[in-house]
Symmetry: C2
Subunit: 610 residues, 2 copies
């Protein structure tokens, strides 16, 4: 393809709102343009790389035996009402009323559509397992789209859904997908960090996120310096501090030498910071007491102190329950872990009114000593506090010398803290460190969340009606492509891995005329016939401009054809890798074979047989 | 691919709402399922054919030098407001308000998006011509979606837009596209009727529609029995009746022997039918007078009788003007032709109040004799009426013996009639006949409609700012695929042309075990290695069921592997074309080479080099 015959509007200027490299470079290299807020158009060069990423994903999906479908992007709202997500999904779901007042959804994901399709076709266990996918347009109504296609409103996602008769079959599909994902990212030249992720709003259990490190990542990852533990902070566990007593009995023993608990006046001193300043001591000496309101609690509360006082004991899940949650003053509660611990749909800090009602004190003076109006839950860190400061359930009063096991106890203890850099790895105890990451892919055991709510049934070998279990597996195509650029660029531009480069080779004639033109055209023709993808910069521009553009658009191999090198009985051209600074002079007679061999080798190495 | 490893849910039953063959067969053959009203999902088999149609279109577009982009499907409403189509498009445009109250459009077509993209990049005439396209999801909010994907709400369309400095360049692109379209449909095995189409709401002039004949077609086509004239009824011309006088003078001469014009009582007789019955004569003897209200009339009305009486002479386009339009009683006015004749944006029958005001008579008694309140326009057919009946501008009164040129004259005459079967071809005079057709593609000279309203400029060779002119070119992918099935099926199922068949060959082992299994597997492997696409029906079903399904899904070649034919020293298999009734026994040793040769030949013949 000649540059003059395609459309590559490169820019010297950086778009004002482009703060990350991929956003800047996708615009500057003429891969992408903006149509609206979070809405983009891929231009010819960008689309070529996009399709290569898409095809790598398609090949790996097909290799797992998953079957590609193409459902509509706009789907009836009815399907989302069946699953319950019409209401639970929040405002990022683009809901549309059409001219006939029918509810429609511009799909952000397609559990409903695939479940509905399978529901209508599934009758026998012999049809299972079934794995289906699409690579299709999605829309999520981001409030603040940014970072180009990294967080756009419309995007392309590969989403797969599998249906199974039993856990074993789901496990197999889940593991196959995990392997396919690793291959996808490897083939794209990406270094991903697979992390055990929290299940979030998706329901179910068993999931893995594929992250790339990113300065603007919206996930905080915790990684072990020693072993391969990695986790999203939302779900990261940690080893309890080594100093923490192993049990309530140990705690009591540790408290033996602590002075008796004493009330202290703390006029208008409510926060941990204020207390630290007032008492001139460290946050580690405090016991923070947070009152949480939990919704749809499935944890068995039988025998929980204070539970009856809340007057709600009936039913399987408790619609509303309050808990006093204790944690050491220097640590934070991880609400996702707390919700999981309580088996609650959601947890939120209680309102001031509820706190006043339940603790009989204003906000800032809650504490576990003598608290009987609700169950007390403690992070493991609190068991190690044998001489602490905590609220006294009275305005302007705190306790000092409060000791766990002696002055108060929790109904239940657990790992509820937000893990942070420096904490101990739950696997090996070594120190954890933090990275910011962006999610490129997610594999997930859904269980029967959708098959149950949407009434999917099949007959098992005994003719008995059963509900299949499901897995879902997503990869963002745009984000994967942008991440390739994040990982592979320098100050001059993109450095495409050969597998997803828009072209393999760019030929730059120093001046496109005479022998240089002829040689360039012949090289382009010869390489193309060998299956090499060639861009020929035939523009009437200064060599410097062409070199700058070649670096910017990041084609892996560059051939410069100059008139001086063509003189003599051994005409030569300059060959340079985008990754290297130095040219090599290669004899014209060898260059096609040489380069073809190298590129084929590189491609083969990058696309290993499964 | 083994049938057991893919997902082809064939049906014996015909879906209740499927009235056309393609709709029935796409469901029965397991190509498609329904997600909602006018919303569908392609299943694996259907998607394979869909992609092949898509790729044929892509190859032919690329061959014209058009460049593929991928804009978002959801675009800002602002773009549509700029072009004016936010309001003019009507309710088929799916407008969405997002959570931030921004207006969005789920694109039904993309003139706005492409024009906006080019606007931002175009600076010099050297960048022109520029031809860009996408193959992407579209949505049109059909009130009554039907016929499966033939008239769905969501669909996939290839839409191309070209930008030019002059008409000559636009003509070239337009003609190139016309040739590409002919090749696309030919490669898909479709017989299309290219017709000169009316420009409709798109504006501009110069357009061609590519139609396929269809019982449920929403276009009426007029074709000549003798020459290759073809037209959409909306724009079809015809030769004036041979009996018609050539001029107003001839008309006067023809009226010489007509008795003097006479008033007749016609109490409560208003319609042509009532008049025919009342006067016992043929509709051909009547002069129908219809009062039209036209909007934004650009026709020069200087000197038009009655025009000043309407009190609106200023400005370039007249916002509103009324016309008395005459046509022979047995014919109908073609409002599209009338609007074009008047250079009006729209024409509609006038309201009863306007008719009363302008003709001073109730509806049903308008006539040209003595009518001075507005310009009189006549279809050519009226000039031949030398002895006619027409309204007398008085309630319950008509004239008889009205003669054109003697008793009344039109300000202007033109071809305003709706052409119908039996009328004379405008090219050769031979009889026209009618067909119902569905539009698959449309190529169209847009002129500067979008570049003007959306402010696109470039500098010409003299450094002067100019507005480019545009063309647009669309093909419906789903509809093309469905049309292939409409044209290629029999009572047993689909008969795919080799170019768009989901697989080239289906291998049907009579029973998938032992030597039959081994032979089938080997054949599948050998053919696949030759690049032939093979489906292997490995199901544990009776041969009859497999044969029925093979016919239903319409794979072009079928190989039946039976145990009896494998016995002996010259083992054989049965080979059958889907189009033929009879099997051929082919030696196992030859079948791969034979079939590969035939299929390659067929493919090459169907994909001729440009």
């Amino acid at each position: 393809m000649k540059v003059s015959q395609t459309f590559i509007p490169t820019l010297r200027e950086v778009p004002a709102d482009a703060v990350i490299a991929s956003h800047r470079l996708m615009f500057r290299a003429g891969l992408l343009r903006r149509l609206g807020n979070g809405l983009f158009a891929y231009l010819p060069l960008g689309l070529r790389s996009f399709r290569k990423v898409e095809n790598i994903i398609r090949e790996e999906m097909n290799a797992t035996g998953s079957l590609e479908l193409k459902p509509s992007v706009v789907v009836p709202g009815e399907l989302w009402k069946e699953s319950g997500r019409w209401t639970s999904m929040g405002e990022s779901l683009l809901r549309v009323k059409n001219r006939l007042d029918a509810d429609l959804v511009v799909s952000p994901t397609a559990e409903e559509a695939f479940t509905a399709l399978v529901r209508d076709e599934l009758s026998s266990y012999r049809q299972l397992p079934l794995s289906l996918y699409q690579i299709n347009t999605k829309y999520r109504d981001e409030v603040r789209p940014r970072y180009g296609v990294m967080r756009g409103r419309e995007f392309t996602m590969k989403d797969a859904y599998s249906f199974h008769a039993d856990e074993e079959s789901l496990d197999k599909a889940y593991n196959d997908m995990g392997r396919a994902y690793r291959r996808i990212f490897k083939r794209c030249g990406l270094t991903v960090i697979p992390v055990k992720a929290d299940s979030g709003a998706m329901g179910g259990s068993g999931s893995e996120e594929f992250m790339v490190e990113s300065e603007i990542g919206d996930n905080t990852l915790l990684l072990c310096k020693s072993c391969d533990y990695s986790a999203n902070v939302e779900k990261a566990e940690c080893r309890p501090d080594f100093s923490a007593p192993a049990s309530a009995e140990d705690a009591k023993a540790a408290a033996a030498s602590t002075p008796a608990i004493t009330k202290i006046d703390t006029p208008d001193v409510k926060t941990i910071e204020e207390l630290c300043a007032f008492l001139k001591c460290d946050a580690k000496n405090f016991i923070k007491t947070l009152i949480y309101r939990a919704e749809n609690v499935e944890l068995d509360l039988t025998g929980a102190p204070g539970h009856k006082a809340q007057g709600k004991t009936k039913g399987e899940a408790l619609a509303e329950a309050f808990f006093a949650v204790l944690i050491r003053g220097d640590l934070d509660i991880n609400e996702t872990k707390l919700a999981a611990f309580l088996k609650a749909a959601e947890v939120n800090l209680a309102s001031e009114a509820d706190i006043l009602r339940l603790t009989e004190a204003p906000v800032g003076f809650a504490g576990p000593v003598g608290l009987t109006s609700m169950p007390v839950i403690a992070d493991f860190s609190v068991r190690a506090v044998s001489d602490g400061v905590t609220g006294a359930l009275v305005k302007d009063l705190h306790y000092k010398h409060a000791a766990y096991g002696r002055d108060f106890e929790a109904w239940k203890c657990g790992d509820l803290r937000t893990v942070k850099a420096g904490d101990g790895c739950p696997l090996c105890g070594e120190e954890l460190y933090e990275k910011k990451g962006n999610e490129l892919g997610h594999i997930f055991k859904l269980g029967n969340k959708y098959s149950l709510s949407m009434n999917v049934h099949y007959l098992d070998a005994n003719g008995k009606s059963q509900i299949p279990i499901m897995g879902c597996y997503g990869v963002g195509v745009d984000r994967t492509m942008a991440s390739v650029i994040e990982e592979h660029h320098d100050e001059d531009g993109i450095i495409w891995p050969i597998t997803v480069a828009p072209y393999h080779v760019i030929i730059v004639p120093v001046k496109y005329e005479g022998a240089v033109k002829e040689t360039s055209d012949k090289l382009a023709g010869d390489l193309t016939r060998e299956g090499i993808e060639v861009l020929l910069d035939d523009r009437d521009e200064r060599p410097g401009v062409k070199f700058k553009d070649a670096d910017l658009i990041g084609i892996p191999w560059r051939i410069v054809v100059g008139d001086k090198n063509l003189i003599g009985d051994k005409p030569k051209v300059e060959v340079k890798r985008r990754t290297e600074k130095e040219n090599a002079l290669v004899e014209l007679g060898c260059v096609v074979q040489d380069l073809t061999g190298k590129i084929r080798e590189e491609l083969a190495a990058a696309n290993p047989q499964p």
